[in-house]
Symmetry: C2
Subunit: 757 residues, 2 copies
């Protein structure tokens, strides 16, 4: 069996409950279940989500990922004392998420306030083999005296999204002595969910059921002799009912049958079946690093685990939320994060998943066209925040304005339009990686031309050229500017590729071709100044700067908004993340290493990195520009976004894009992978700390493995494959070893990117 | 100042958090605020309710009292450690509700896990002088070292009713550095509520505001030198916006102005103003007992406090919920409890409140007529559970049926019709106590004739007489029976009084008079058997009995339903509360002391007392029947319903009717007050433990005070008043002393009720 690292929650700490609940989420792309403890804590937020199950809870709200009734809670009393680690003493603590099989385990020895000691061991996994299945075990052992236990567990429909309730209760019932079932519908009636739980105790107990106030519980009491254990095993089956198929009653009966069939082999068999699926994932895709810092491999495994646990492979109508299925941050909405930070991983490992994620956008084209039309433009303006229907889901309000006392309006939905070009960029990347003609002919060309059409209508005539006015780039601390460099370059790329691929695969409308040619010729693409620095927008260089060190020290927390209003921040050279650095990352063909470095040097001091998307990209650009040590520092800082010491960094979910960026940093940064003019380039440059790096990839349907050390690279393919290594084209079939010194003029360890620009 | 007893929460105990949160609710009839601690506990349910603010949260739900956004929570950290009594050590604990001024106080010395010791003192009251006002203070003192504190408090809109969310957020904002304001509307738009909070710290602090996920918070950090204190003072103004008056924006501004005007004099002045109102209440109405058991006076003061705190004197469209404004049990619905258990207190102390409570039913006659019509009857069938509109609000389902696994349907709304006659009974009592002709002419006669009309249509021709079939009496363990004695007698009383008063005050329709006469002549009134026992219904005597001791030992918990389904309980002589005993209580003119005793003796062993309405009535009947010691045991057991040791007795609210019954027991039991044929009778008989009893009353607009000892009674009136004392008519003006021995033949201490039958 392939062993991975494990993520460990080092100690019980009420401050970090929600961080580890997010980080250790068990999931399978269909469901995500926050790693909350079985017992309650006031600070602890439970959460179980099904991918794509969104609902809008009332006026002034938007659709959000629905927090489903909880099944993980177990209320235990030992001799009448409620088990909680806030009281008594934990005498032993071990808690781990085993990435290799997706199992969350905890083992605690608890001394109750009255002195009785019990061992409590619990395990939980969401099955990778049977998506609706969530299995749990909860074992109590009496260590030094006989004890009386009471256990309550069931299906708890009091869960809300921070007080927003989405579900009406349709029915609650019990079958025999072991099965509980509840059915709920979203208040709009758009979705129904049925949860069935098979509860079994390994020892005889007095049990009764209660159904009150949205909770269906099995309550059991039993006596445990010293040295004895009792195991509470709970197998849960969580499914959405498709409307217009079976009646609710028949469907519920079917759920009962499915659960009983599934529960029959028992926890261990179910676990083995799920582990086998996880093992396939690890064997295909695990990136392995030999680093002097053992946290690096944990970060890579953490990223990989979550990339699998968050990705819906079962339904093309669903994409990936900014916090995956690990919490309610950003309400479970889909951002450009998916196309820019997550899609490259899928492209290079399991391209059918990348296709499915692009199909999600394709299936939501109607909403994007509608949004463009409502705003007076043509083509497709995808929603800045997307849920299930493709309509705009960005909330109206953000934090309180410190000057007015009113909540500030969120401007992204109005002006953060680069997302449109990002989607087109992802389509082009998909083509390069897969050469999937069927997709390009249908979905690809449609996405490219609709997005290009948007840009052509979005540009305005000004200063004798076409300009793009009143946008927000990725840097959200600079709002409503003209000719944002990132946006203009990406829009140009979008239109250029739309013209190219619609010529290659579609029938080009003459009007479209003419418009596109005009746009490409006349759109203003800002030029670098004498220092090689590109202005972020028309007015950026004219704004004052301030010392940001205080805020950079608390990167990610947006503390600047406690001292300045958004309007004030807007009028200074203050960046949440650097647009131009991002631009040099996304369109590497367009910028030389020197230009990349110049922009990095100018913008980084002005960037707070309040966006989780920021540091990783800086790292990749630094690596590509021949600064692997600087890159490694950025990369590690990117890993710290979720895995660092801040106990509240991930309370409302992990940063899905940041997990993608961990992979991106290793592969696009240190393995030096880039795609230029459709061709695969590798320029590996490891940081000192990394003795080796193994990366498995998939390119044009061929499996390719890179084994990189400081001095050489071994490339292994399943078929003949051409690629560019350190700027020289090589053709590989089977396993080939290359010494870096054979490719590079200098042996300084800094690879130049000759032939790549 | 008149001092009362105080209610004390003896120790911090996670099991009894919700019990004391209910018992110590601060309220003023307009709002009720559960006595939850400032810090959170997993088991603790916060609650703030405005009388009459109901809403239905979704399909399958009924209207319920809305749990409003919380203002009482204060999250404190001491040197980064969250303050909670689950961790560290409480070294001192005192917590009291001072009935005399309605103030809840707590004083704790807490040793944090790290060893730092702080004293935390908090106070809170809902103003009796200004209904929308809730004032709080929270003081922290550093006892043995300098500490850093962080405090978060604000308006928390994540509150729900067990997961049911009723409110949409309309706006959240901040004014200056001290005022937070939120506005919410019920999801149906029927109500809007605006909460404005003025937050002030007595020491300088670093503060910022956050508004996220339905929480508007002021977050402050400050340093406290050893020996220093900081007081956080929060004055809250909680109001409903009347639709169609001011715009929301103008209304919010007005709330801000009202709050600022009100907060200006500060906590102590506001407290004094509220206390002055409470003192008036106590001076007018306090019942004083000199008992060997000090708990007796606490129970009387507890009852009195809650009778004032629960009663809406500001709005006739609102009545009193079964759990008052202290919790969400029974969803805040109004039952017969109001008319039968609470109204007598108001009649005899502040009759304008009794009038207002009867007006609530009068204003809801349309809904009652509609319910009768929908079920094929005439007149007014009041809803078994009522909220704001008079429509039936009884939930569809109760607990799980242990045989079928399905939830059992609640039958009360279908058949528990005695409520109709109970309301008529209360109208008659109101007339006797007040002689309020204006009310009788309009509301009184309308209520009597509409309810009487219902009974006339409800009776059926059977066995050559009129019978009432398929009803549920107060004993809900016996469903769907014919000729329930309680119902038939009360229905007869209803029709008889309707005929009488409509002749006296209204114009009697000939058809009504003829129907009524026929009904009174032909309705079957079950007769006592040879032992003097009245059958509860036609089939009751034919059912088997079982040993109930196991269930009686857990009275109030309905444990019998864990062993038997409702259908099974129905087929045995098992009573939740005794109908016939209740009947002898309600219509004392109709039953001799011997008959009362015979029925008590027969039914009590068959009664589990699973209803909180049961024991107190048994006590009154026992007292009236010359068994004061037995009566006292029942009375004390009735006091224990909320005040006893069971830590969960009152989790979802106090038993409002039981507080009424504490007063009833003292006044109708031991002071022996009854009204027979419209005249006031007193037959005081104190239990051994009571050395004296003082009762202030109001009768026909005259203030009357009773000072009772074992041997004599002193009657004091403000005007001339005639009444019956121990069966003999007396006329009092000023203060008159009577020796019991002058009235009774025997000196056994057992008063007979001669002349009363």
């Amino acid at each position: 069996m392939l062993k991975t690292t494990k993520l460990s929650d080092p100690a019980f700490n009420p401050h970090s409950l929600n961080k580890f609940a997010s980080l250790m989420t068990t999931g399978n792309g269909y469901m995500g279940v926050r790693a909350t403890h079985e017992e309650d804590y006031t600070q602890q937020t439970r959460g179980m989500y099904l991918a794509g199950l969104y609902h809008c809870a009332g006026r002034g709200e938007t659709n959000e990922l629905v927090n489903l009734p909880d099944v993980t809670g177990v209320q235990l009393e030992v001799n009448g004392e409620p088990f909680t680690l806030m009281s008594g003493q934990p005498e032993h603590w071990q808690r781990e998420l085993d990435f290799s099989c997706g199992e969350l385990c905890r083992e605690v020895i608890w001394r109750a306030p009255s002195g009785a000691r019990v061992q409590i061991a619990s395990r939980r996994f969401a099955s990778m083999a049977q998506h609706p299945l969530l299995a749990m075990q909860f074992t109590v052992t009496a260590l030094d005296r006989d004890v009386t236990l009471s256990l309550s567990s069931g299906i708890d429909g009091t869960q809300t999204n921070s007080g927003r309730q989405h579900l009406d209760e349709l029915s609650l019932r019990v079958f025999g002595q072991q099965v509980l079932q509840g059915a709920w519908a979203t208040q709009s009636g758009s979705h129904e969910v049925v949860i069935t739980s098979h509860c079994q105790l390994s020892q005889p107990a007095d049990s009764c059921f209660t159904a009150k106030n949205r909770k269906l519980l099995q309550n059991s009491t039993l006596s445990l002799a010293v040295g004895d254990s009792v195991t509470f095993e709970k197998i849960n089956w969580i499914v959405k009912r498709q409307p217009d198929t079976l009646s609710l009653d028949t469907f519920c009966r079917r759920c009962l049958n499915d659960l009983q069939a599934c529960a029959a082999p028992g926890f261990e068999a179910l676990r083995a079946e799920s582990q086998a699926m996880w093992q396939q994932i690890w064997r295909s895709n695990r990136v392995v690093v030999d680093s002097t810092d053992s946290r690096d491999q944990v970060a890579l495994d953490f990223a990989h685990y979550h990339l699998a646990a968050m990705t819906p492979t079962h339904d093309e109508r669903v994409s990936i939320a900014a916090k995956a299925l690990t919490g309610e941050g950003y309400k479970g909405h889909v951002f450009w994060d998916t196309e820019v930070f997550l899609l490259p991983y899928h492209l290079m490992t399991r391209p059918e998943t990348a296709r499915s994620l692009l199909r999600y956008r394709y299936l939501n084209l109607a909403g994007a066209r509608e949004k463009a039309r409502r705003n007076g433009w043509h083509g497709a303006l995808f929603p800045w925040e997307s849920a299930q229907s493709g309509q705009e889901e960005t909330p109206e309000f953000a934090a309180i304005n410190i000057r007015t006392g009113l909540r500030q309006k969120v401007a992204s939905a109005l002006a953060e339009h680069h997302l449109v070009a990002d989607i087109a960029w992802a389509v082009v990347n998909y083509w390069h990686a897969t050469q999937d003609e069927a997709f390009m002919r249908e979905e690809g060309v449609a996405l490219l031309t609709e997005t290009a059409t948007f840009w052509m209508s979005r540009a305005v005539e000004a200063n004798g050229r076409l300009e793009i006015h009143d946008v927000i780039g990725p840097d959200e601390y600079t709002e409503h500017v003209n000719n944002n460099a990132f946006t203009n370059y990406l829009a140009w790329h979008n239109v250029e590729k739309a013209l190219h691929f619609s010529r290659q695969f579609g029938e080009v409308q003459p009007a479209f071709a003419q418009n596109a040619a005009n746009f490409l010729q006349r759109l203003w693409l800002p030029k670098a100044n004498e220092q090689g620095v590109l202005a972020q927008d028309d007015t950026f260089f004219s704004k004052p700067t301030i010392d940001l060190s205080k805020y950079k020290a608390k990167a990610g927390k947006q503390t600047i908004l406690l001292d300045y209003s958004r309007a004030e921040v807007n009028e200074m050279q203050i960046l949440k993340q650097a647009d131009v650095v991002m631009l040099t990352y996304m369109l590497p063909e367009r910028f030389s290493a020197e230009e990349c470095l110049a922009n990095l040097a100018y913008y980084e001091p002005r960037t707070i990195h309040d966006s989780s998307l920021s540091k990783a990209i800086h790292g990749i650009v630094a690596a590509r520009s021949g600064q692997p040590e600087e890159a490694w520092r950025f990369w590690q800082a990117g890993c710290e976004i979720d895995l660092g010491d801040d106990p509240h960094s991930s309370d409302d979910g992990i940063h899905a894009a940041a997990t993608g960026a961990i992979w991106l940093g290793a592969v696009q940064g240190f393995a030096g992978l880039s795609v230029c003019d459709g061709e695969l380039h590798l320029s590996p440059t490891l940081p000192e700390a990394w003795r080796s790096l193994r990366v498995p990839l998939c390119w044009h349907g061929v499996r390719l493995q890179l084994d990189i050390t400081a001095d050489e690279i071994v490339l292994t393919t399943t078929q003949e494959l051409s690629l560019w290594l350190w700027g020289r084209e090589v053709c590989i079939d089977g396993e080939v070893r290359y010494a870096k010194s054979d490719f590079l003029n200098s042996k300084s360890g800094t690879a130049t990117r000759e032939g790549v620009v």
